[in-house]
């Protein structure tokens, strides 16, 4: 709908009914779904009033189970009961230093590891999609209808592969995704809007499997992320594991079976949670072979054995402050996010580093989902009081290209505000070279082998020239989700190659479409009806807008072009009352296509400025 560019920012050309918008915190340990109701962000609980969904999926004898139902089987069916799948997103087997820690049957596959389960080989994307589907169903039940738009959060320090995998999972779950939002930023939104804060804030987010630190400046309704850092493989899980190792050592156990291991991990987690409230905890368990375990752990011992994990979080904090060119004393408040920040030794370390007690007035488990719901509500176009705020986020890791000698040339530095686009020129290094390999990498290190490889593609058909004569412009574009597109173009000849950076393991669009089609095979009639109603509204909008535009700027259209536009318009008007939403969409597309050049010329004329304050529907009357 190219012609709608002249509507006012933030307003849709036609009044809408309220959209069903949700925010999802897809966590390592727990997930949540939230929405804005009567101007207030609320978490949607299950029938029993429980807000959290344990991020556990079980491929059982009788189908897929998620949440608490799956959790009940984590010790008796560990290989088919998948916990902490977030740690596997966008990761190959080689990336998992701790693969042996998991009881799963891993299947190595290019780029991303897969898991062999009772119901077949599953990728982490599919497993996450099963979780997201459960969250979507909860929202549908609670909101009384299909979700119109969702914001899904990701750790700020997730790289492109991990983000893309998360977005694929959301698509696979049939969620209309409005935006990927960084978790600490979501927390800052929930916190900042709640407290009407101004100044520099740090969000310290230690979740189940990931750690993020973001430094933000809040001023007059703008949330500006100055720097972010973290460790996408450090979280509460690691504290559990450290404790698990301590149990094995202290009880002098031999390496446990998968189900014993899971049992001890569960006991470790319970002890960890107990120690947040008490000075000691007991660990009592009976292993499968009948061997009893009975240990007492003091808070002091626990603090000692996890000391290096706590100090591991402070290194990214120092880096983020350095990148933001700030001192700890410049920070006005520190917001704690994530269940793992309940540990007293973490709170103490944060307080000591920043010289002030951290803020804990929002529930650290819920704050991310609440912020995501607020953002989703706004992006979906629901108007609220105090919604005149803006979010400016950054990319966490530098993006670059491989150059000669296996070195990285950074194109977009870390902590660049998104969206961002940057172009750089390269040339051929051999006489007569007709192709150029482009290797896109992400990371801070000098050597390509130390960075994450995101994509490879080739620009072919460069006419033979002497070395150094070709001028190849490579353009990087990062969108508001933090996802990258790369294009290469030889400047003399205009030869181009483009790639949407998709990890090589990533599901192809075709695969996703097929999986979606399968899951919607039994879609009910009202979904059809809804699709038709939406297509009709859209058709009417674009037809009306086109007519209005032709009335105002008709002289910008050539005679031949006018014939094409008129015919597309007539065709669309004729089909508008039909029942085939796909045909109607096609007609909308055809009109869009026919008016593309016209719209561009109108923009060139800077029509939008001349029309400030007017809307398409105002013009047509």
């Amino acid at each position: 709908m190219a012609l709608f560019q002249i509507s006012e920012p933030g307003e849709s050309p036609a009044p809408h009914q309220r959209k069903r918008a949700i925010g999802i915190d897809l966590g390592t340990t727990n997930s949540l779904v939230a929405t804005v109701r009567n101007g207030l962000a609320v978490v949607l609980p299950d029938d029993e009033g429980r807000p959290l969904v344990p991020s556990i999926v079980r491929y059982g004898e009788h189908g897929v189970e998620t949440g608490y139902a799956a959790m009940a089987h984590q010790t008796d069916d560990p290989q088919n009961t998948i916990v902490s799948v977030k740690r596997l997103m966008g990761r190959g087997l080689a990336d998992l230093a701790d693969a042996r820690r998991f009881p799963y049957r891993f299947v190595d596959s290019p780029g991303m590891v897969k898991l062999d389960t009772r119901t077949g080989v599953k990728s982490p994307v599919e497993i996450s999609a099963d979780l997201l589907r459960a969250l979507r169903e909860r929202a549908v039940d609670s909101l009384g209808g299909e979700v119109d738009g969702a914001v899904v959060t990701v750790p700020a320090y997730f790289d492109d592969a991990q983000r893309q995998a998360t977005k694929d999972a959301a698509r696979l779950a049939g969620l209309p995704i409005l935006r990927l939002l960084n978790e600490p930023t979501a927390a800052a939104i929930a916190y900042g809007l709640d407290n009407a804060s101004e100044g520099v804030y740090a969000v310290f987010d230690l979740g189940g499997g990931t750690f993020d630190i973001s430094i933000l400046r809040l001023s007059r309704g703008v949330f500006e992320v100055l720097a972010t850092n973290g460790d996408s493989a450090l979280g509460g899980d690691d504290f559990d594991h450290r404790l698990f190792c301590w149990i094995i050592e202290a009880a002098k156990l031999s390496p446990p079976s998968p189900s014993d291991a899971r049992l001890l991990l569960v006991k470790a987690r319970e002890a960890k949670e107990n120690l947040s409230e008490h000075d000691s905890a007991t660990i009592v368990a009976t292993l499968a072979a009948g061997q009893p375990v009975n240990l007492t752990l003091t808070k002091a011992t626990y603090t000692e054995i996890t000391g290096n994990l706590v100090s591991k979080t402070l290194q990214p904090v120092r880096r983020a402050l350095r990148d933001a060119q700030l001192q700890p004393t410049d920070v006005k408040g520190v917001v704690l996010v994530g269940g793992a920040t309940r540990m007293p030794q973490v709170r103490r370390a944060v307080a000591e580093f920043f010289g002030q007690p951290p803020l804990t007035n929002l529930n650290p488990d819920e704050v991310v989902a609440l912020g995501a719901a607020v953002q989703a509500n706004k992006l979906a176009g629901n108007r609220e009081r105090d919604d005149d705020w803006l979010l400016l986020d950054v990319i966490p890791l530098s993006l670059g290209l491989e150059t000669m000698g296996g070195l990285t040339e950074k194109i977009i530095p870390r902590n660049s505000t998104i969206p961002v686009a940057r172009a750089q020129e390269f040339t051929t290094y051999k006489d007569g070279q007709t192709a150029m390999a482009i290797h896109v990498v992400q990371g801070e290190r000098e050597k390509v082998s130390d960075c994450r490889s995101l994509a490879r593609f080739e620009l072919r058909g460069i006419p033979p020239m002497v070395a150094g004569a070709a001028r190849i412009q490579v353009t990087f574009q990062v969108d508001a989700d933090g996802l990258l597109d790369v294009a290469a173009r030889e400047q003399e000849t205009g030869i181009e190659a483009t790639i949407t950076v998709k990890p090589s393991y990533g599901l192809s669009d075709g695969e996703i479409a097929k999986m979606l089609a399968d899951s919607f095979a039994h879609a009910s009639d009202d979904m059809q009806a809804r699709a038709l109603a939406e297509a009709q509204v859209e058709a009417d909008q674009i037809a009306t807008a086109t007519e209005a535009a032709l009335a105002v700027d008709g002289e910008l259209v050539g005679d031949d072009e006018r014939v094409v536009i008129d015919s597309a318009l007539t065709q669309l008007r004729r089909m508008q009352d039909g029942t085939d939403h796909l045909a109607l969409r096609a007609a909308v597309e055809a009109l869009n296509h026919a008016t593309g050049d016209f719209a561009a010329r109108r923009m060139d004329r800077n029509v939008s400025r001349a029309l400030t304050g007017k809307r398409v529907d105002a013009l047509s009357s």
Binding site: F4, L379, N606
Partner: protein, 176 residues
């Protein structure tokens, strides 16, 4: 949407000068992003979203270029048809080069020794020299409008900024 043909200063409604009100830039930047950011167009057509993305990226590019004094000086020269640094002409005064080489050697030694105070002192030194150069550039560019004559200073400033960045990276590496 924004007018892509306007220069960075115009885009923010600010006068093209080297001496600069950063608070005014921050304010104009936030206002402009409020108007063009893709979040304002999440419910619109793909074309509108794409345009918002490009506009917003352009505003970010302009903001980064003006905020940093080195880039601002280079940009100001470019607006007057002068490239401060070109592939064919990278000449710098010999005395300046010698001093920079010496500093780089000192920095490398300090890094090898893990000498944080030494590196910090070198960094402060480089920044002080940058500040003096910036002051001089304010006179040259805004007072005398001597853009061509300012070329050498802009080049030196660029060189010093790179040195400061490198020392900063060394400090970060020792720190972590």
């Amino acid at each position: 949407m924004i007018d892509f043909s306007r220069n960075y200063f115009d885009l923010f409604g600010l006068a093209a000068s080297f001496r600069f009100d950063l608070a005014a830039l921050d304010c104009a930047y936030r206002q402009l992003q409020s108007d063009v950011h893709p979040d304002r167009f999440a419910g619109d057509s793909d074309a509108a979203k794409r345009l918002a993305q490009q506009s917003s990226a352009r505003v970010n590019e302009a903001y980064v270029a003006l905020k940093d004094p080195v880039q601002r000086a280079q940009y100001l020269l470019r607006l007057h048809g002068i490239e401060a640094i070109s592939e064919t002409d990278t000449a710098l005064p010999l005395a300046f080069l010698e001093r920079q080489l010496e500093r780089r050697e000192q920095a490398a030694d300090a890094q090898a020794a893990g000498d944080i105070p030494g590196l910090t002192a070198l960094l402060a030194d480089a920044r002080a020299e940058s500040a003096a150069l910036e002051h001089m550039l304010g006179q040259l560019l805004d007072g005398e409008k001597a853009y061509a004559a300012a070329r050498m200073q802009v080049r030196e400033l660029t060189f010093l900024a790179k040195l400061a960045d490198d020392i900063d990276a060394m400090l970060a590496a020792i720190d972590s």
